[in-house]
């Protein structure tokens, strides 16, 4: 008999999937280059050439038994040590290999982190607008989702609402900075206030609330923007990283968990992750990829295109009268729609071959997301469509 809940999930419509299907169909009709598809967060710049060369070199010179052999379930020790060292150098931390658990990208990292520090039935807090996959990550660990409403002023944390939800049932808080979908980077003041509130509540409740920090966009930060390393501000923090965006490797499914060494249980949590994997059937990312990323720990793809695209879009959106917070990083921008119903707004945009994502599924109705990880030339061409769309559909603006 088929599992009823997984079967039910199939019948739920995904707005992003529908939009993507539209974009593909429309692309077949008028040429994909003429569809301004801002729906998908797929990196638009290639992996660094150094990465490709490193993989080829490993394949040409190393013993296949070593390259493709079982890696220990916590990750290859030399890889874990190199990852720890690179974090220490960049963020002044004291990680050792034993604090690192190699994962199947950020999805795997968050899934493990959540299971390690919660029991089924516990509550986990997230902040609207949020990446929709947080819901299955949290419910998959058997936990309940609690959502702090958006602070649409600047998309920093809405502390008043956060504190209301921070009861002793909450065992973990999940943050994402630089943020998908807003593009906003949490300020040092935000992180400090968050840390101090968690410390205070942990003391009051008699246990440590965990801070799980989802950081796939950590390296995509725009000029002049300060992006604090979350774990430097709170001892009971678990940093979840993915190489999907910084190295443009989303298909390779590689990332890690770094557990704050200031936590006396840090190494235990990493060891527990090895046990968690046994039940979920996820055992380590590809061994070749583990060796590969070790050669480019201080590299990124050429990420400058994202800032360029952001500036073009931001300036035009402001000119057109949109309410929008300027992104500090990522490849997303999150303007307010020109009517209350963002779904209707995005539907109208399709007539102009503009594929925008209404933020209802990010728990922030009335807003929409544009993923500008596309060629700059296309962003430039889309401006005319954007102007026509606004002028024709919202002439009062």
């Amino acid at each position: 008999m088929l599992n009823a809940s997984y079967k039910d999930m199939l019948s739920k419509k995904s707005v992003i999937r529908e939009l993507s299907e539209f974009a593909n169909k429309r692309g077949e009709e008028i040429g994909y280059e003429n569809v301004f598809d801002y729906s998908l967060g797929n990196p638009s710049v290639p992996a660094p050439e150094k990465f490709t060369k490193a993989l080829i070199n490993i394949l040409e010179t190393k013993d296949p038994m070593e390259i493709h052999g079982y890696s220990p379930s916590l990750g290859i020790p030399s890889v874990k040590e190199a990852v720890a060292e690179s974090l220490n150098e960049r963020f002044g931390m004291n990680y050792e290999g034993k604090h690192i658990f190699m994962t199947s990208a950020a999805a795997g990292a968050i899934a493990h982190a959540l299971r390690a520090v919660t029991e089924p039935g516990d509550e986990v807090i997230i902040f609207a607008p949020y990446f929709p996959e947080y819901i299955p990550y949290i419910t998959g660990a058997g936990c309940k989702v609690r959502v702090v409403p958006a602070n649409t002023e600047d998309f920093q944390i809405n502390f008043e609402e956060f504190e209301k939800l921070l009861t002793p049932s909450v065992k973990a808080v999940l943050v994402n900075t630089p943020n998908n979908p807003t593009g906003v980077v949490y300020s040092t003041a935000t992180i400090k206030k968050l840390s101090s509130l968690l410390k205070e509540k942990s003391h009051e409740f008699g246990f440590n609330i965990y801070l799980i920090s989802d950081e796939p966009y950590r390296e995509i930060v725009f000029g002049g923007v300060e992006s604090p390393y979350v774990s430097a501000y709170y001892d009971y923090s678990i940093s979840c990283y993915s190489y999907s965006k910084s190295l443009s490797l989303p298909g390779e499914r590689i990332g890690y968990i770094a557990v704050n060494p200031a936590n006396p249980d840090a190494a235990t949590i990493v060891n527990m992750c090895g046990q968690i994997s046994r039940g979920t059937g996820h055992n380590c990312p590809s061994s070749l990829m583990q060796y590969g990323i070790t050669e480019v720990l201080y590299e990124t793809s050429d990420l400058s295109v994202y800032e360029k695209n952001m500036n073009i879009l931001y300036d035009e959106l402001v000119r057109l009268g949109f309410t929008v917070v300027k992104p500090g990083g990522t490849f997303y921008i999150f303007p307010k729609a020109l009517e209350d119903d963002a779904v209707a707004f995005c539907k109208k945009a399709l007539k102009y071959d503009l594929v925008l994502v209404p933020a209802d599924s990010f728990a922030c109705p009335g807003y929409f997301r544009m993923a500008y990880c596309i060629d700059t030339e296309k962003v430039e061409r889309s401006i005319e469509a954007l102007r026509t769309f606004v002028k024709s559909e919202y002439p009062a603006k």
Copy 2:
């Protein structure tokens, strides 16, 4: 707060881990080449050269955006189609791409298959002796494990005991042929009898009991042994495959689920697997590996060494008076210990630098497993140690 059950798992001693630690320590003392380590099921032959060349060729000639880009969560369509076709050619099946779900090797395959066809609380039947990781796979899906006692006569299925356990609470049956740890291949008669019993009980219970077939050793079958393709005999079957053993790629974590197209729900099950991944944080194997294995779907590593090693060991074990069923495949052999307590037996063997695994953790006390995926030269050298061990410790034999 740390999750209590995962933390508890850490304190449980693993016999195999302890043995492996002994082997490593002893190796440092007397040289690893002098430790006859039969404890680990790690392939001892390299991946085919064609695979290495295929990977290099992909890296040198293809667009990195394509190679490393997000693959759809069910797997890359062209890869799924190629896998389906290769199964159809070899086993006379009618799979299409939509019946294939790419997984993080057999562990990922079984974890998904179990979640797709059970509800938490359901029972899943396995057969002793079994691969110990079946327990976390099944309990990880929230199900209860029911174990059919071993048929130590020939390690085919103990049907009498199986039928006793086959109640309406059982939603899935998990088989593994060629088998770890026995090395035995289920005969066509066994598979037919299994299929017919499942059909009968499915009819009686009013729902289809699923047969999940774990097949990582499918290509390691010795001369003259017939190895039926399980799914050809039962419509409600899910074949779980891994390239870990046949292509010596255990670290790359790549395999698939193939759902029998005779089942009207086959494509639905594959789609459900995509939903299951969302909750477990496992999304697809490496995209490069998906492209890579597609180039070698009809290849294997040079697997002949395993049969050679098996023959040397089997002949000697028989000569020394062991009760042992001749393996039909895999790289395992499963003799009866020379005393009732196989743990004590294996402990004594360590004095002779022979690392053998007592089968208590495989739910078959009194037996032990030898994983002969080591160099033939080493197998030959181990014979003297084996003789001395038996003569000194069990002189009556």
